[in-house]
């Protein structure tokens, strides 16, 4: 990708279909223009810490991070841990968007400081609705840190 691309939403999601549906839902309300989709936690961290293929990227923070939990290599909880341990990144709203409704994941996410935890609805209509709501709320209604 172009390292000079401006990124508002970082989507970390290993499932292609879930990612496509998420992007489709966000595109419908014109929120997907500056969206970067990475396929696992390693790529997400590379982007956030400007390493690997993102070396040389500007120090600009995204306005929203959507994190799946179950991902190959580095999982969402680990990415969240790194974000919350970083003074520069900690102010970015992080929404866990996952299929896991396990208490263990819920607890870990909130304990680390996730801003929201959304279980992906099984029903695709509900899924579209939920992703649209999340995008509208965090990108338009919510005020981000300067």
């Amino acid at each position: 990708m172009n390292i000079h691309q401006h990124v508002d939403i970082l989507l970390a999601e290993d499932s292609t279909t879930d990612a496509e549906m998420t992007i489709r839902a966000l595109r419908k309300c014109n929120l997907a223009t500056n969206l970067l989709w990475v396929k696992d936690g390693r790529e997400a961290l590379d982007f956030l810490q400007r390493k690997g293929e993102f070396t040389g990227r500007t120090n600009e923070r995204p306005k929203l991070i959507l994190l799946d939990i179950k991902m190959p290599r580095v999982d969402g909880i680990e990415v969240l841990r790194v974000i919350m341990g970083d003074d520069h990144l900690r102010v970015v709203p992080v929404v866990m968007l996952t299929s896991s409704a396990e208490e263990r994941d819920l607890l870990a996410s909130y304990q680390l400081g996730a801003n929201s935890y959304i279980v992906k609805p099984v029903d695709s209509d509900a899924f579209y609705r939920t992703v649209t709501d999340v995008g509208l709320y965090w990108m338009l209604e919510n005020k981000v840190a300067p």
Binding site: S15, M21, S99, P121, D123, S124, D125, F127
Partner: protein
């Protein structure tokens, strides 16, 4: 059976050392008694020896008194001086006294008593004979008559008679003494043997009891060890079972979880197809897409219910006191609200859209103790079932009741709907078991399985009664809080 046998043997074994201990104690008691009576006997024998000596002393004294009287009589007969008569007078007063004492002392021995009587007579004769000599001398100025009488030997004869009697009696006393000493030796020997034997016996009994007891303690310790090991094994097995159960639960959970992702893609992409290319599809194409979406939704519901079922098995109970009446009122209001709302949840839409509003009668319900969220799920499932299966009846009616009975609180939900065939009762509460087709009454067949699971987790029980087209009643019973 086996345990009774074992306890019987243990009981018998336990008795043997007790019996030995009691016998040992009894032996010691008997030994004390025997020693005591042996000492008493010894004291008694000692008394008898003294007695024999005393008898002999008195006997010799009679002879000595009689001899003194003889000498005095002879002296008086020769000299005629009355002061010579003192020993005679002493003898005449003391002899009867001594005889009386001897009679008392020999009263227990017939032979000696007989001889004492003879001695009494002999002594009296001695005193009389000497008295006669003294009288002769007194009545005559010269000693001739008296001396003649002495010389005639009458006095000597009666004295000899006394001597013979005394000798015989002394001999008898000596024999008695010897016999008693012999008896004493035998008795002492017996006592000794008794004490030594008794001490040995009680020692053996105590040692035996000690050995038996210590053996029993050892056996019991071994048994305790075996019991402990068995317990340990049981705990390990329970632990393994729990682990297996947890693994199964987490397996169920991850299976259902992983099934959701492709399913969401199917419905999602079918949706995209409809949105983006719906215009270009003819009616048949639209129908086929609809079939894909409907079946994906149905599978989604199945997975959701399976997940819920798995969750109710894993969730930790958090029990509180529950105002059951209020809880059920809310459940009923919520279920009615769904029925009237324009956008009901997909699984309920079909049943409610075709239904007339059911009459719901809510009786007074007793309070209970349990997990509020879980029991609420029980009511939701039971009441929504009753509404669903009575929805095609002319005047649907659902009655909710509760009562205390024994240590339980029994709740029931009755409807006048299609009921069920009791023949298939054993399938009623099974997972994914359905007694009606999904076309007539939609559902996945997990609702009652969840009900059963929750109630069992509360230590309660569930059952149902029904017949085809005659409605059904579902019961669940919870234990009283104080009974738990």
């Amino acid at each position: 059976m086996n345990s009774t046998k074992t306890s019987c043997i243990q009981f018998r074994h336990a008795n043997v050392p007790v019996i030995a201990l009691v016998l040992g104690l009894l032996t010691i008691c008997y030994l004390s008694y025997a020693s005591f009576s042996s000492i008493a006997e010894f004291v008694r024998r000692k008394h008898w020896v003294d007695h024999s000596h005393l008898v002999r002393f008195e006997l010799e004294k009679t002879i000595s008194l009689a001899k003194d009287a003889q000498a005095a009589t002879r002296g008086f007969a020769i000299v005629g001086k009355p002061e010579f008569l003192v020993p005679y007078q002493t003898a005449s007063t003391e002899l009867p006294e001594i005889i009386v004492r001897l009679q008392t002392m020999t009263a227990d021995n017939p032979a000696q008593a007989r001889d004492t009587l003879l001695l009494k007579d002999a002594a009296a004769q001695v005193v009389a004979t000497f008295g006669h000599t003294i009288a002769l001398r007194r009545n005559s100025p010269v000693a001739a008559d008296a001396l003649d009488f002495v010389a005639a030997g009458t006095g000597e004869n009666v004295l000899n008679q006394m001597r013979v009697l005394v000798a015989r009696m002394e001999e008898r006393e000596t024999q008695l003494l010897a016999q008693r000493k012999q008896e004493e030796r035998v008795s002492a020997y017996n006592t000794q043997r008794l004490i030594v034997g008794g001490t040995l016996a009680s020692g053996l009994l105590f040692a035996g009891a000690f050995w038996l007891l210590s053996r029993e303690v050892r056996q019991r310790r071994r048994a305790d060890g075996a019991l402990l090991a068995a317990n340990q094994k049981l705990l390990e097995n329970a632990g393994r079972l729990e682990t297996a159960n947890k693994e199964l639960e987490s397996f169920t959970y991850s299976i259902s979880h992983d099934l959701r992702i492709p399913l969401r893609a199917i419905t999602g992409y079918a949706g995209m197809l409809t949105e983006d290319y719906g215009d270009t599809l003819d009616a048949e194409g639209q129908r086929l897409l609809g079939v894909i979406r409907d079946n994906s939704k149905r599978m989604g519901n199945l997975i959701d219910d399976l997940l819920a079922f798995s969750k109710f098995g894993r969730k930790v109970l958090s029990s509180t006191s529950i105002e059951m009446h209020t809880l059920v009122e809310n459940v009923v209001a919520e279920l009615r609200g769904y029925g009237q709302s324009q956008s009901p949840s997909p699984s309920q839409s079909q049943s409610q859209s075709q239904s007339q509003a059911a009459r719901i009668i809510l009786d007074d319900l007793p309070a209970a103790w349990g997990d509020r969220a879980m029991l609420q799920q029980v009511w939701i499932n039971l009441v929504s079932n009753a509404l669903k299966y009575s929805s095609k009846t002319q005047a649907p009616e659902v009655r909710i009741s509760g009562r205390r009975q024994g240590g339980e609180i029994i709740y029931s939900v009755t409807d006048n709907g299609v009921g069920f065939d009791m023949q298939y009762y054993n399938k009623l509460f099974g997972v994914f078991q359905r007694l009606h087709s999904a076309d007539k009454f939609p559902g996945t067949g997990v609702g009652l399985a969840i009900v059963k699971r929750i109630v069992l987790r509360h230590g309660g029980r569930v059952w149902a009664e029904g017949s085809i087209d005659q409605g059904a009643t579902f019961f669940f019973a919870l234990q009283h809080k104080d009974a738990q």
